[in-house]
Amino acid sequence: MEIEVSFVLNGKRVTVKAPPAKSLLRVLREDLDITSPKPGCEAGECGACTVLLDGKAVTSCLVMISQVQDREIWTDEGLVKDGQLDPIQKAIAEEGGSQCGYCTPGFVMSAKALLNSNPHPTEKEIVESISGNICRCGAYPRLVQAIKKVANE
């Protein structure tokens, strides 16, 4: 059985047919060609699939597609404007916060959620905001540095 769900993805209204219990992560990747959210653990523990849902960071593997009717979703793809990276994407690249790259889109979205609600966070707030994201290359200091850079701009 499939249902039709319509929501706003990166600023544009989309409609998709999917099994109602399918995860938002799988729908984004398999049905909408949005591949920045990564299937790491698919149990809400690694943060690689983090997206913004109505402005809040959520792990898209734990969101059912049935739960996003008329909601607003942002992914990394949506942050690129006219071919220009978002300041946080640019800062992570410049600071070397992206090593193998698998976790990077999730970190970008967690950082974005923080900076949207708190443009000048403390180091403690920065660390807390990305504590749900795992980087097995260990680029954490560079990621924190990148977020600080944007916060100080």
């Binding site: 099994p19 995860s23 809040k56 734990l62 969101v63 749900g132």
Partner: protein, 295 residues
């Protein structure tokens, strides 16, 4: 079971939800942070899911005399941000901050933690330490159950299949009450508790207490109170020796299991240490009591 085998009901009102639930076949989902993992691991036996996320009437935090009423869709992030909850149930806020990480706090709900009935649910010990009530509604009836009577075992509760948890009421702490919440996990974010403990202490005079409630998580099939440890705290000076004894008594009341994350022996030592640490912080001035206008 493949993801395509599930039917999902998405009602807009509580009464529609209760109607869907009347034959008891559907599994309610609030945030979904537990259920989605269980679906992936093929642990959900129901083929029908009741998605509550569009029922706006279930998303609230209300001041109601001695209680704070929390709707079934209210997330941990909502609780952390709430002035009312910070003022009157700081022990719940302290626990909410340890739930998963930001992404989980943004989706996970207190009612979902109650419904999932894991003994390691981080939101649960504060409910036992403050004295909460769970509201269960069905099409035909409505009842409130004390948190201490709600859980029967691991994932077993008094909720009937046709009943929905619509609200959790948290009893307000009083100005002057001391409290702590401690969680021991393998890391500080996104880790299931090896043990957890919440405590509320009601003072008699300066740093002596006339009432103590200590609730321990992940050391029994349900959250349990450490009654002998509670009794040992009352009306005495909490010397270092005394605090260690209270920790030891709590540990004796714990009957944890050995699993993939920790041994039973480790958990017993950890709970003794967690209780001692919380008391130590109170006695040595590292913790402020509830002041009733802290925000």
């Amino acid at each position: 079971m493949k993801v395509s085998h599930y039917t999902v009901h998405s009602p807009r009102t509580i009464s529609e939800a209760l109607n869907i639930l009347k034959d008891g076949a559907a599994r309610p989902i609030a945030g979904g942070t537990d259920v989605m993992v269980q679906i992936k691991d093929d642990l959900v036996k129901e083929t029908e899911l009741l998605n509550l996320s569009y029922i706006m009437d279930l998303n609230y935090i209300r001041d109601d005399g001695d209680f704070i009423r929390v709707g079934a869709l209210t997330t941990y992030s909502d609780l952390i941000r709430s002035r009312l909850v910070n003022e009157y149930s700081p022990v719940l806020v302290e626990a909410a901050r340890t739930v998963g990480a930001v992404q989980i706090q943004n989706r996970g709900t207190l009612a979902g933690n109650v419904g999932n009935a894991s003994p390691a649910g981080d939101g649960l010990p504060p409910l036992f330490a403050t004295g909460a009530k769970v509201k269960l509604q069905s099409e035909a009836s409505e009842r409130e159950v004390d948190i201490g009577d709600y859980f029967l075992g691991v994932r077993k509760t008094v909720r009937q299949p046709n009943e929905l948890i619509t609200e959790v009421s948290v009893r307000k702490m009083k100005p002057g009450d001391y409290y702590f919440f401690k969680k021991i996990g393998l890391r500080s974010a996104n880790a299931i508790s090896l043990v957890s403990v919440a405590a509320v202490l009601v003072p008699a005079e300066v740093l002596t207490f006339k009432e103590a409630r200590i609730a321990m998580g992940a050391v029994a099939p349900t959250v349990i109170r450490a009654k002998s440890a509670e009794a040992a705290i009352l009306n005495c000076q909490l010397t270092d020796e005394k605090m260690k004894e209270v920790g030891r008594l709590a540990s004796e009341e714990a009957h944890p299991i050995t699993d993939i994350r920790a041994t039973a022996e480790y958990r017993k030592q950890a709970i003794a240490g967690a209780v001692y640490e919380g008391l130590y912080e109170i006695v040595n001035g590292f913790r402020s009591p509830v002041n009733g206008s802290s925000v």
